[in-house]
């Protein structure tokens, strides 16, 4: 006897369906060459794409640069989008590919934000703790391979369902499940080690 998990669309509420409809209309307008429609899509998804890229790359500058490339690529190939998937799943897929490409090109430990990050020198103890926690997460994420990091970031940071992750990464749902389990195990080990040190 074997399990066959069917990922339920738990978060497929009316609101998201309406959003998808609105996206479909915007995509149609973009495909007709209307730039204003793309500006709306840009405003709608820019922060999600930037945060996704940040989760992958760890550097704000790199994340912004990658996100800009993602939208430029999306604009160039919007005519190929046929609505088989959700628009943001499609955008996530472009983002993941862009980030994986950048990770392959980047040298190890090159693409990390400074320890201070956005914080100024006068941070309080609480803020320092946040920074330390963030660095622990960053170093633990860095220890994961890009495929494992991808599923973990998409699931834990962006709340994607297994089905959505599978669509974004173009892998079977069973692979999502096994990679996610492995990613959690490895992240926990790495994170515990960084906490202890």
């Amino acid at each position: 006897m074997s399990f066959h998990f069917v990922a339920p669309r738990l978060r497929c509420t009316n609101q998201t369906e309406q959003s998808s409809d609105a996206d479909a209309q915007l995509v149609a307008r973009c495909q007709a060459g209307e730039r204003a429609a793309f500006e709306i899509l840009l405003a709608r998804y820019r922060n999600r794409v930037v945060n996704l890229a940040h989760g992958f790359l760890g550097s704000r500058d790199d994340a912004e640069d990658a996100a800009q490339d993602v939208f430029a690529a999306a604009f160039a190939s919007i005519h190929t989008f046929r609505g088989d998937a959700q628009l943001w799943t499609w955008l996530y897929r472009i983002t993941v590919n862009q980030c994986l490409h950048r990770k392959r090109r980047a040298k190890p430990c090159e693409n990390r934000d400074d320890a201070g990050g956005d914080e100024n020198p006068g941070t309080t103890r609480d803020e320092s703790a946040v920074v330390v926690a963030r660095l622990g997460v960053e170093s633990a994420l860095d220890e994961l391979s890009p495929p494992l990091r991808a599923v973990l970031v998409l699931r834990e940071m962006h709340d994607l369902t297994y089905e959505e992750i599978a669509a974004a990464l173009q892998i079977p749902i069973g692979t999502v499940r096994s990679r996610l389990n492995q990613a959690r195990r490895e992240f926990k080990i790495a994170w515990t080690r960084s906490e202890e040190s």
Binding site: M1, F3, F5, V6, A7, P8, L10, E39, L42, A43, R46, N47, V50, N51, H54, G55, R60, A63, E64, A67, Q68, D69, F71, A72, F75, A76, G117, D118, V130, A133, R134, G136, V137, E138, A140, L152, R155, E156, M157, T161, Y162, R177, L180, N181, R184, F187, K188, W191
Partner: protein, 194 residues
Amino acid sequence: MKCRQTERALPALIDNEIAAPWRRAIEVHLQNCASCRARCAEIRASHNVLRSAINAYPRIAASPDFDARVWQKIAAREAQTLPLWLRIDAIFARPLPKLAASATGGIVFGFLLVAPLLLANRGASSNDGAGVAALARGEISPEVFYTRHDAHLWLDFALSPGAPRPQTSNKENAWNAESRAGALPPSLLSGSLC
């Protein structure tokens, strides 16, 4: 349902990523199996710790000039799709035009090197009549004229039965020179050229 199957399904159960019939079966099993219940609690706690840790990761907002930079990149991409002949930089960025440009440069450079030599020998090899005119004006002697035009070889060949046939290609030169040289000395015109 067995413990091994339940344990495999626990992460998906905790993630709410399991179909309703399986969920019910697992929940029934968990009610009756203390070890699986403990394992489920352990995984759930681990997930919560992990999630709270990851949630410490900062959420960032796109910078104010984000959109402008996106449009710049779009414009750059569109410029890339212009016809090649409109983009000189792109032409020279390609390997084949680079090679062609290098070859052309080499040819021009070589010509500039060789051109003075060609010009210096022009009087000796051309058949434009300049040598003939110079001969007619008495600026060069018949010997010099025929030496330059290889005509003496053909004259020797024509006049002397034992002379070797010239290997040069200046027969036409000599012929043209002869035919246009009204002022040539009669002694040199007495023989016929082959």
